[in-house]
């Protein structure tokens, strides 16, 4: 299995751990990634505010670069917002001749002439459908036994395209979680919206989204995310969210590939995890401490977890 890889800006910045763990886990599962050379920003949610065409051209540029290198290979994006923008552009190239012509006209200034044949895939789609839970289960050497994981999908990998999961009742993460030896935590907020940038632009509305999700996750050992924005919102605003609901909403939130990587026994630094990723993992037989961490540090962190709960 080989894919064009589009990391996106967040994965070079605040979501570096998502990039690291994605690369490490896919390599361990035998998936090869070809990073798109000279890729640029997909426009996020901002490009649409400046111009409808610019919002298509920015992601289309990256698809054109991928297509130029190898047309019949899918583009893999771990960030849900990047995925959706790339997916919108692919759709326009394929199904809207007028828009496609305008996109081609603009891209000609960079000497790109795409035909629009590349498919766009979210990381979760590739893990759930191409790699599959069985292949993951076969490589697990350190099962996450007794750990309850709440699958959090967010919005844009599910809607509006519904490429690989039910957008109203998503389940694609569940077989993967069970493959790790962990339990699926039942909750209602799997497909709920984290508010995206509202936490920065309209704080009250954003915080109420975040607080509701964290509150629903009470009883889970960890929340698994597949989007840098979801991860950022659920991690960075736990304090204000707790004060808002007058309740401790501190929760372990990890990217899905970080959880997979822990179960595959990959070294923590390769996953961007600190102290077992905050999980109360049982010590594996025959191993006193996990590589890359002092036994003391790991123990402290685990104690902290238990006290908090």
């Amino acid at each position: 299995m080989r894919y064009h890889y589009y990391p996106g800006c967040s994965l070079e910045g605040t979501a570096r751990d998502y990039d690291r763990s994605t690369r490490a886990v896919l390599a361990a599962l035998g998936v090869e990634l070809l990073e798109i050379p000279d890729w640029t920003c997909c426009g996020a949610s901002a490009a649409g505010a400046a111009g409808a065409l610019l919002a298509r051209v920015l992601p289309a540029r990256n698809l054109a670069l991928a297509e130029r290198r190898e047309a019949k290979r899918d583009v893999l994006a771990p960030c849900s917002a990047c995925y959706l923008n790339l997916r919108h552009a692919a759709q326009a190239m394929r199904a809207n001749p007028r828009e496609a012509a305008a996109i081609r006209e603009v891209l000609s200034v960079e000497e790109l002439r795409p035909e629009g044949r590349t498919r766009v895939r979210h990381l979760l789609d590739v893990l759930a459908c191409d790699v599959g839970a069985d292949r993951v289960a076969a490589r697990v050497i350190r099962p996450l036994r007794g750990i309850r994981i709440a699958p959090y999908y967010g919005c844009q990998c599910l809607r509006p395209y519904a490429d690989f999961d039910d957008p109203e009742r998503p389940t694609s993460m569940e077989p993967l979680i069970r493959a790790l030896g962990a339990e699926v935590f039942r909750w209602r907020s799997g497909g709920a919206c984290c508010g995206a940038s509202l936490a920065s632009t309209q704080r009250e509305a954003g915080l109420s989204r975040i607080a509701a999700i964290l509150d629903d996750a009470r009883g889970a050992d960890a929340v698994a995310t597949v989007c840098p924005m979801c991860q950022m919102n659920l991690v960075a605003f736990q304090g204000p969210a707790s004060r808002r609901l007058r309740r401790d909403l501190a929760r372990t939130v990890l990217y899905l590939p970080q959880l997979i990587g822990l179960a595959l026994g990959l070294p923590q630094e390769a996953l961007g995890c600190r102290g077992e990723g905050g999980l109360p993992l049982p010590t594996p037989p025959g191993r006193a401490a996990v590589r890359g961490r002092s036994p003391d540090g790991a123990a402290d962190r685990r104690d902290g977890e238990e006290v908090r709960r």
């Binding site: 901002a46 111009g51 960079e110 508010g195």
Partner: protein, 186 residues
């Protein structure tokens, strides 16, 4: 705020954008599925259903007195569920665009957020989240925002989640200019 170069390059006026939105929601039958599906409806002064009605009645003044379209977090639930299959999330984006183009004062903060983000893309090809947030905070001149984000910055730095050092940079000036020309061609 300075005149935003990304937003003002001979773009069509807000009215033209509003006309586009009107065409998008023309088949709205006022069932309210959008309002019932919206996670942010409780924070909105007008529910999405009422907003679409005002668009169809061409009541621009009321539409742009509302903050409703700035509260869309692009979750696509309304788009997914609309029984008429209308592109409602896109319509919300188009209203944001109209507000940007009219340079409406009450949308200054949201406009600045998008503007600073795109400036970073235009200049460097990719976005440096730190630099972008600092420019945004400087543009809206809100000390409370500065305080909150300083705390967030420290938290991220402690977790080792802040990028250090220079990254590859590549201007997209020509692409931006051409996109504006093609979009605004008659």
């Amino acid at each position: 705020m300075n005149v935003p170069p990304v937003m003002d390059s001979s773009l069509p006026p807000a009215g033209a954008e509003l006309e586009r939105v009107r065409r998008m929601v023309q088949a709205c039958m006022q069932c309210g599925t959008c309002s019932g599906s919206c996670p942010n409806a409780a924070a909105m002064d007008l529910t999405p259903r009422r907003l679409w009605r005002l668009v169809l009645l061409d009541r621009g003044e009321e539409i742009f007195r509302s903050r409703t379209f700035t509260l869309c977090s692009a979750c696509y639930r309304c788009t997914l569920r609309c029984p008429r299959g209308l592109p409602l999330t896109e319509a919300m984006h188009a209203l944001q665009r109209a507000a940007h183009r009219g340079r409406m004062r009450r949308y200054r903060a949201v406009t600045a957020f998008h503007h600073q983000f795109l400036e970073s893309v235009r200049r460097n090809g990719r976005v440096n989240e730190m630099a972008f947030m600092m420019h945004y905070i400087a543009a809206v001149k809100n000390p409370l925002l500065l305080l909150r984000h300083a705390a967030l910055g420290l938290q991220l730095a402690a977790r080792g989640s802040l990028p250090l050092g220079r990254r590859p940079s590549r201007s997209l000036e020509a692409l931006f200019r051409r996109a504006a020309e093609v979009e605004n061609a008659p």
